[in-house]
Symmetry: D2
Subunit: 495 residues, 4 copies
């Protein structure tokens, strides 16, 4: 059912030349206790836009109108800043969501797939939004349809609403506990009833969720950078496996799940989170700079210039330069008017590829031995094009230094990854990759080096890793049941 009023016209097609990054799929934000709460949610989502640019949705509740909702394709700033729209979202309680597409009809999102989802129960309504992925969603959906549930979206998140509808519990938070105990995977949830703001992290705490205080109210956010924009004070992270239920009377903490050891996503440090966010007590920027320093130690090379691949490689490049003493310079300039994508572009424009976004600072590069620092290599397509641009501009040598280990396994916990066969590192050794990219050298940070940079002085504990690093290690802390049913083969002992 691929349509809704104007829905799929506004839908952006896959980016023709930017498929070479992993994509975080969602950011969530919620506020209780502030007048015009939805305005604060809009600001929070704007600060979380890097976590999802395809679409956004906000739900609010006020006593006069009940639940109010708006969902829009495109950037938060293009819709959820307008008074005419925000006036339709009154109330002291609001949650919101930004999304990149993930499960659900990928590349073909309809407005009805945009979160938050809403359900009317006999004791009142609830809206729910989440960041992450439910790994047994297909099985749950089959079961629910069999019993007579009617799904309105292709999003697996809707399962949670239907599970709640069928719970025998008498209040909404208890129904949510019931529902979440049936759900597997990674999920950081913000939800709301008429009077409560609710936050939950899955037992492993794969995705981030933080609690903030702002004036007389409270807020929940995927990252701390979104607390800053509304002037909220960072209180603490919601703990893995914790449910917080926030009302006018304060924050109640519940533990719906059996306790497990935390496995936070290490890629949040490398790429997903914004550099000005604080994760685990440390600025992401500092961590990335530390990765750069670690990389300079692990993989030194003689050169004239350390140059970031903008913008995500910048902090690591600054760290690499500081550690190595090789001057830092902006050898690649990013067109800041690039935006996200083009709608039905001409062939000529489609063929321009990375040139539309990046230009080489020829005068700076010419004749130099250049170290390019990037955050990751996924398919390798962009890395090849950048290398060509740098050589065309007259660089003497090109050395790639990558601020993460080789990405060899897909993520099933809320990140959009190509299938394994398309991951460069799943098919080549580091040397083969250097050859393929045609660079003078290519080095990735080691997995232990990365753990040291994020603060684990002894590196990775192989028996009980401190983070989820499945994309690098192939060790999945939650079995991806739906994917296995579809044929995905887990790593064997031999690999």
């Amino acid at each position: 059912m691929p349509d809704d009023q104007h829905g799929h016209h506004a839908m952006p097609p896959a980016h023709p030349f930017d498929d070479d990054k992993l994509r975080e799929e969602c950011g969530v934000f919620g506020v209780i206790g502030l007048d015009q709460a939805a305005n604060f949610v809009a600001l929070g989502l704007h600060a979380l836009q890097h976590r999802g640019q395809e679409a956004g949705g906000i739900v609010s509740h006020d006593p006069e109108h009940g639940f109010n909702s708006a969902r829009r394709f495109g950037y938060v700033r293009d819709s959820f800043t307008k008074a005419s729209l925000m006036d339709t979202l009154p109330g002291l309680l609001s949650i919101g969501h930004v999304r990149y597409s993930t499960a659900g009809s990928k590349g073909n999102t309809q407005i009805r797939d945009v979160q938050p989802f809403f359900g009317e129960f006999s004791m009142g309504g609830a809206a729910i939004a989440h960041n992450g992925n439910i790994t047994n969603a297909a099985a749950l959906r089959r079961e629910l349809i069999e019993r007579g549930s009617i799904f309105q979206s292709s999003s697996d998140s809707e399962c949670i609403i239907h599970l709640m509808a069928r719970s025998l519990q008498r209040d909404i938070p208890a129904r949510m506990e019931d529902a979440l105990r049936r759900v597997e995977g990674a999920f950081s949830i913000v939800a709301m009833t008429r009077t409560k703001l609710i936050g939950v992290r899955d037992p492993l705490g794969v995705r981030p969720l933080v609690l903030g205080k702002v004036g007389d109210g409270w807020c929940l956010s995927s990252e701390t950078c979104a607390l800053d924009i509304i002037g909220a004070e960072f209180v603490r992270e919601v703990a893995p496996g914790e449910m917080v239920v926030i009302t006018r009377d304060g924050v109640e903490s519940r533990q719906p799940f059996r306790p497990k050891k935390s496995r936070f996503c290490i890629f949040e440090h490398v790429y997903f989170s914004r550099p000005d966010s604080i994760l685990g007590g440390r600025s992401v920027y500092e961590t990335r700079e530390a990765i750069g320093r670690e990389l300079a130690k692990e993989a030194p090379v003689e050169a004239d210039l350390v140059c970031p691949v903008p913008d995500s490689g910048t902090p690591a490049a600054i760290g690499y330069s500081a550690e190595s003493g090789i001057p830092y310079g902006m050898g690649i300039i990013r067109n800041q008017y690039m935006g996200r994508t083009f709608i039905e572009p001409t062939d000529q424009i489609r063929n321009m590829g990375v040139r539309l976004k990046l230009n080489v600072n020829r005068a700076l590069i010419r004749g130099k031995r250049v170290i390019l620092v990037d955050d990751s290599v996924v398919r390798g397509t962009t890395s090849r094009k950048i290398k060509e641009m740098i050589l065309d501009a007259g660089a003497a040598e090109v050395h790639f230094r990558i601020a993460s280990p080789p990405t060899a396994w897909p993520c099933f916990y809320g990140v959009d990854t190509p299938e394994r066969s398309k991951l460069l590192a799943a098919n080549m050794t580091e040397d083969e990759m250097a050859d393929y990219l045609g660079v003078d050298s290519l080095k990735f940070i080691s997995l232990d080096g990365l753990y040291r940079a994020v603060g684990e002085a002894k590196g990775r504990d192989p028996k009980s890793p401190q983070y989820c690093d499945a994309c690098f290690s192939g060790e999945y802390p939650v079995e991806p049941a739906d994917m296995i049913e579809q044929g995905f083969v887990m790593k064997t002992a031999a690999e």
Copy 2:
């Protein structure tokens, strides 16, 4: 939840000066066995546009994409004629719906309330659209939510889908039979599965539904005028209480309900249906002309000109003129560019009221005794304004002749009626109404006269009326359960 992408912006507000007609709420159309079936559905809906101008929706099915759907506010011709949209609705099987708002958030329709509704069951999907009203929808909805169904719209029609989802039957038509046996009210349904086109009329057959044959395919339509536009041949009316299940192999007739005596809506003859449609074997135009003749016999008056209130009063005026011998003339001219309504008009334009739509042909009216023939009087507001315009233009006398009996009771079977207190005839006698309107005389056709005009030579059978005439008589053939719960008081024996 008052929003969806652009949904409520495109939503037309209540018409500021056209609240003086009863509004038919829906038209349905379905096709099986023709290539690009949705194109034929669009044409059919265009021909049925008079039954609902607020929004329209079409669903189709093809083996490659499965079910396809599009819903739009506004006229069929403005959306469902464009190749770019219709190309998204391929397949040999398609149904569609045009709606005026009714049950559901009235005056505040969202795109998600626009039919057809779709449900995915364990044995496959089905789409359903209906014309009419479910009189026990609120009670059904409460019961279904209590059991864990999640409603996605405020439309009561969605109940049918949820009832079907919970049926224990193994195929979709059987589930629909199950569901409809729980439903009370008036409903002419077209529905589709991946391979079947289904039509149902409620046991009383309040709303029309006809079967047509076109090439190798079949179609279902609210009225015959929509068969004409696609060149289909009229086969027969679907019988009250009948379900037809149409496949490639032909038409199967089922009888899901206990037999009842038919009670077709008599107002379809007076106003709702298009004059070129055939109802019960007779052209609506001829019936209306006959009403005019009957009215001329019942309520003659000496005058110089018989003048229709355009456009709905025209056939009765022609009949009145022919019977009375008083010349027929177009004393009131309708602006054909009027359209349906204005979005956020200026005050000046809002105040123009009926003048925007109608102008008096002053030269023709001046000095004449004028008989104005209109189809009905609901609130009386427009009638008063027309009378003033006619007198301003210099008419010597103004006599109103109304082609229906006094409308004294609201309809609960799919027609948008003001509440009883706003119906002029619920509060005044015919003489009081004449006074109120300030006309020289006012006469309604008698209920018996109307029955004679529609072909019941002996008039109305008071013990077992041949038609549903609740809006005139207050005798409701199906108890309006939800309304009674909300406080509506049925006619007592004394009335």
Copy 3:
């Protein structure tokens, strides 16, 4: 230069199945002395919408903002009723224009071609709008460009502004007189300066223009029906060759041209003007009814039913029926939701042609001898299709009666006519046309009959015709200079 912001996207394509009518090309309206004058202009233009449906424009002036302007494609009601737009058009003085395309890039109108046109002169600005056509526009344009004028539109009306800019006169009305003395053709103009509302008719008075009084203000309009909608009183027609200059102090009459005998367009009576307008002291409706009576006398036939081709044939059909005594009935029903045209329709919809707009009232037609009354036959394409529909419905005989003489010559005075070779009557005799259309008989009213019906008891004065009837007679009262240059051959004595 075929574009302007969104301009040509909004541009409607040629109507795929409605090319069989002559099209009036413009309506003009102006108001002085009323608060929010532009609102009244919008209402006036809404009443004149039948004179041009492609686009409309309004200019107003207020002391604070100076001249304000808005131009839009589509119906007046869809744009110029919204408070948000009308608020940008404040002031006591305003003029407006509705257009069908004519000279200028036909079928390819840009928003910059939409009148009123505006020019800034050394003594202040002026806006001007006209109904008609300048027959020496191409020559004037060449001359002006040669002298250094820069044209901003492809509309020939812009010539008037440039001629005014180059006049040596010291005030704007005097400059306009200067300019208009260089201009040939048919033009009814409304114009405005900061303080004056100006109306002009060409020396022959080919196009209509009337003066009205409303409250303390004045208005100018193409037709009286637009006076009615704003409650203005009809004062008089602006005389052929007269210029009226209206200020707060009243109406000044000027005579810029050498006196000529009036030659009003007779087709305004037949088709262009609205039936409720008054032309030359007589209602257009009555004239058309008289044409029908005259036609019944000139071309009687035995039949069972007189049936109008809706809507323009209706008054003449009523007259024919009254004179002949043959019953009048609506054998063809018009879909009132048809609108003007379809944007990029599917092939199936394009092929539906006239069926989208008209349906036969089969029950009424079956077995009858039918007289179809239409206003004119241009290409004959629609007439053929209507005849087929009527016969398919089972009519026994079909007789066409046409309320105008054969249209054998193109109009160069502001009406969109096919080139001569496409006019049926330019290539066939009446009998050949009857054969071509496949009807039992076809009769046109005679030119003398038409003159009698419009009130000329003695018919047409062949030496000095009372009207412009070039489309019937080929006698052009103003030589079409540009067209002759392009190869048009005038009627010779022999024809």
Copy 4:
């Protein structure tokens, strides 16, 4: 006349919180000799987007359609990348323009004010676009209107077209020479006829214009970064006072003006041009790094961190860090989804100001003595807010280092500057400014230091300055005639 179809709805309002930068007003680009030339122009304009974000326009010419044109509000990438639009701009010859508003109705741009402008002359048409400002435009416009020219825009650039229209020369380049000799100010022009691409720089060469070669074709561009995007080779700068006329046969150089000493805009080096462009043989990035080094020498301070105000302060901050040895770090993070502005924002969002765009990297800043490097201080409003954010985040000290001298005079040569009374440096000494901003120290680079950084080893020649530096020095190389007439007072000897 503030409207055109959709024009002023799409018009962005003044940015509520970003009025603290000087704004370059235009970028120009032209191509001859490449198939689908307009596509290359679109790419060039995308690369020049930093020179003007309000609107863009492209004109092309092809033999079949003649001149084609499209103008749009918003970014190039949002309009001029779509195949559906670009297909309307065929041909081997095309020019384009991006604009920020300048002269003309500031903050109230209409689509008709968007360049290129087009004029039809007796020998054919020409389109023209320019970057800069005509300082005697008001006087020229008055004169032209007096003689009968009709202006269609409020842009002073239209004067050039009218002057050309009135020239007695027989070919278009000669007419352009004639016209430009009447024009004063700064102007880098690209223009086109049906067969020629033309580039002109004013006699002082205030604005940049470069010539490139691409395949068999040629291009003209404001900056070299736009040559890179289409893969063009940089040939040379168009010389001050030079006109190049490019046809299939090659590049002809003309000298329409009396020779003058060049006075290129020094602010292009500081801020306007993109860092990857080459000006006068040197990369803008390197010049800015050199400014940072110079600044570190002129205004050293003990500190812990050199931090750029993103993004324009970055290269100078890198230079300052390299020269001073103080570590470089990203203490302020820019939200890359900020876009340009908000349309009708809510009050809450309006009040967020700079927070929407910038966030402090708290963990990095805390406890540190921070040197903030910015490119310029205009009103000082943003600088104050940034200082507050840095202090709130716990910085120990805040030192501002500015990569340009105090901006004390408005620019009249194509840059949007506040009036003098609003320029902080026009009203305060450096110490007063430091007090006003509340920072521990504030230092601007000296004018001589800036000249050294751009490569003038001996600094500024006070008798004959090598650059236009009027915004710093108040010495205007071209008398701003229109502004003086409006009351602007030039610097006196005493100042």
